[in-house]
Symmetry: C2
Subunit: 337 residues, 2 copies
Amino acid sequence: MQPTIADVARHAGVSTATVSRVINSQSVVAPATRERVQAAVRELGYQPNALAASLVRRRSHTLGVVLPDISNPFFPEVVRGLEDAAHASGYNVILCNSDLDTAKEIEYFEVLRQKRVDGLIYHSGTITADHLDAFRRLKLPVVLAATHDPRGELPCVLVDNRQAAAEAMEHLIGLGHGRIAVVTGSDPVSGESRLQGYRDALTRHGLTLDDGLALQAQWTADEAYQVTRELLKRRPLPTAIAAASDLMALGVMGALRDGGIRVPEDVSVIGFDNIRLAGTIRPALTSMSQPMYDIGKEAALLLIRCLAEEEPDSFRGRRLVLPHRLVVRESTAPPRG
Amino acid sequence: MQPTIADVARHAGVSTATVSRVINSQSVVAPATRERVQAAVRELGYQPNALAASLVRRRSHTLGVVLPDISNPFFPEVVRGLEDAAHASGYNVILCNSDLDTAKEIEYFEVLRQKRVDGLIYHSGTITADHLDAFRRLKLPVVLAATHDPRGELPCVLVDNRQAAAEAMEHLIGLGHGRIAVVTGSDPVSGESRLQGYRDALTRHGLTLDDGLALQAQWTADEAYQVTRELLKRRPLPTAIAAASDLMALGVMGALRDGGIRVPEDVSVIGFDNIRLAGTIRPALTSMSQPMYDIGKEAALLLIRCLAEEEPDSFRGRRLVLPHRLVVRESTAPPRG
DNA sequence: TTGAAAGCGGTACCAC
DNA sequence: GTGGTACCGCTTTCAA
C-alpha cells in the first residue's frame, strides 16, 4: 500500500494538517518542522493522493478534450498546443474521440462531468442546439476550438475562415486564374464560411463559381479524390482548384496526378490549414495556414483563465480570432498560355 | 452545487447505501425502490462524483499515455486505437507529450501516479535503466507500445522490426536493386533493429551496405531530406532507398524530387509504418505497414486485462508481436536499364 | 506555529 | 431488501 498523509505525519511526529501545509507550501510552517516533514516524505516515498485532494478542493486540475478523431492530421497539432499550455499551468488532459457522433459525445460529457474535469475544450464541425443544451447541463466551462456556436454564447478561438478563404482565392486570382473549382466540406462553420469566402473573392473580381465547379466532399482525402476524378471527366477543366483543407487538397492532387494532369503546370492547387506535411510533399502544397498549435494553446489558456475567474460568465461569448497566413509553395502558379 | 448521493437518498426516502446500490446496479434492490431512486436521480440531475468513488474503490478507470509527441503522424493512430479500446472498457485516457525528455517524463509519471491512474502506456524510442527504475517506483502496471525494454521485463506490443525491415529490403532486392541506401533513426529498438533487418536481407543476397549509403537522421522528414541532399552530391547514386519511417521517406522523396530525380523511374523509395497519407500522396508510397491502430488497441487491452488480474506479475515480460505487411504502391519499381 | 476534527461524496460491511 | 456507519486520503477552519 502507498503511504498516506497520516503515515508521513506519524513518521515526522506532526499532525496531518502540518504535513498538508508543507506539501502545499501554504501558511507558515517552522523551518525545522518543514525539514522533518520533507524528510519523512522522502523516506516513505510519499505521493499525495490527488483524488482525495480534488474531492475536497473541488478542482481536479484535469481538462476534457473532445474532438472528432485524433487521427485526422488537423487535430494532433491542436492537441499538442492544448496539452502544452495545460501542462504549463499544472493541468492534465483527457482525450476523447467522438467521431462527430452525438451519442458518443454525450456519453463522454457525462463521464467527464463525473470525473469532475474542471473544464472542457470542444471541437466539432457544427454546434447544434443539442450541443448547447448538453453544455448547459454540463455546468462546466466550455471553450470551442476552431469552431464557434451560432448564437455566439460560448467562448471560442478560431481564424476568420471566410476572410482566410477569400485570401486564398485572391492568391489564385492574382496569379491570373479565372476558371476555378473549389472543394469544400459540408459543415456550417468551416465548410460554408470558407465557401462563402471563396465566393466573396470571386465576386469581387467579377468572376463566378460555376455550378459544376463547386464540389463537396466529406473533409477526407478519399472523397476529395473521388469528386476530383469526376470533375476531370468534364471539359473544360478549371485551371485551379481551391480545397477547404489540406487533406482534401492531397486528394485533389492525387486525382490530378492519376489523371495525367500536372500541378502546377496544368492546374494549380491551394489547400487550407497548412498541416505539417504540406511542405514535405512534392509538389509542396500552397496553403492558407491556420495556426493549429496556437488554436489549441489559446483555447486551453482561455479555459484556464476562465477557471481562475470569480465570474466565469465574463467569458461568455468571448471570441479570439487568430491570424491566418498564406504560405505559397509549389502547387500554385500562373495558368498556362 | 451539484446534488450528492445524500440528496438523492433524501429525495427518494431511502439510505445512501441503497442509492449506491441502484447506481452500481449491484445486489438486489426491490423494483419499487429502484424506481423511486431512479426517479430521484433523474429529477435532481444527479451525477455521481467519480472522484469520491475512485477514492474508496482505489480505481480511477483512467489510463495514462505518455509518448514523445502526438503531432508525429505515427502516434495519432496509435492513440486512436488505444482510446477506442479504453473507452470500450470504460476507461479514459490522459495524454502526455514528453518530447523524449526524461525530466518531463518523470514529471508526468508523478502526476499520473498522484492522480491515481490505474496504469500506464508508454511509448518512447529507448527504454533505459532510468526508465525501468522510474516504472518500478511508480508501482503501476506499465505496458510498452511499439517498443520493448532490453531486459524484457515489461509487457509490450510491437511488430518484429528486424524481420519487417528485412522484408522491406527483400522487396527492393526482388525488384532487382543492388545498390541500396538506407535512412534510419537512431534509437536501439526501432532504429537499430530495422537497420539490422536491412542488413540481414542484404547479406542473405550477397549484397552489402556501403558506408556512404547508411544514412542516419532524426526520424524527421526534414533531417531525412537533408541527408538525402547530401547523398545526391556523391556518385554513383543508389537505385533505391529504404527509409525506416514514412516521415523520413517523405523527406527522401522530397530531396529526390528537388534534385531532379524521379521516383520510382530513377530511384525507388520504400517507407516504414504505412501512415495514412502514404497512399494519398503521389507517387503513392510503398511501405512496410505497421498496424498502428492495433498496437494502441492491443496495448490498452493488455493493460486493462492486467488490471483485472489478481496476479499482475503474470504479465511480466509478456510480448505481443503483431503482424507487419508490405504494401506495394507506386514508389518502388525495377531499376532502369 | 501546530493540532483536532469536521467534512468532501461515495462504498461496502454488518446488522436487522 | 435496506439502513447505519466506518472509512477512503486529504483540506481547512477553529482553538489552543
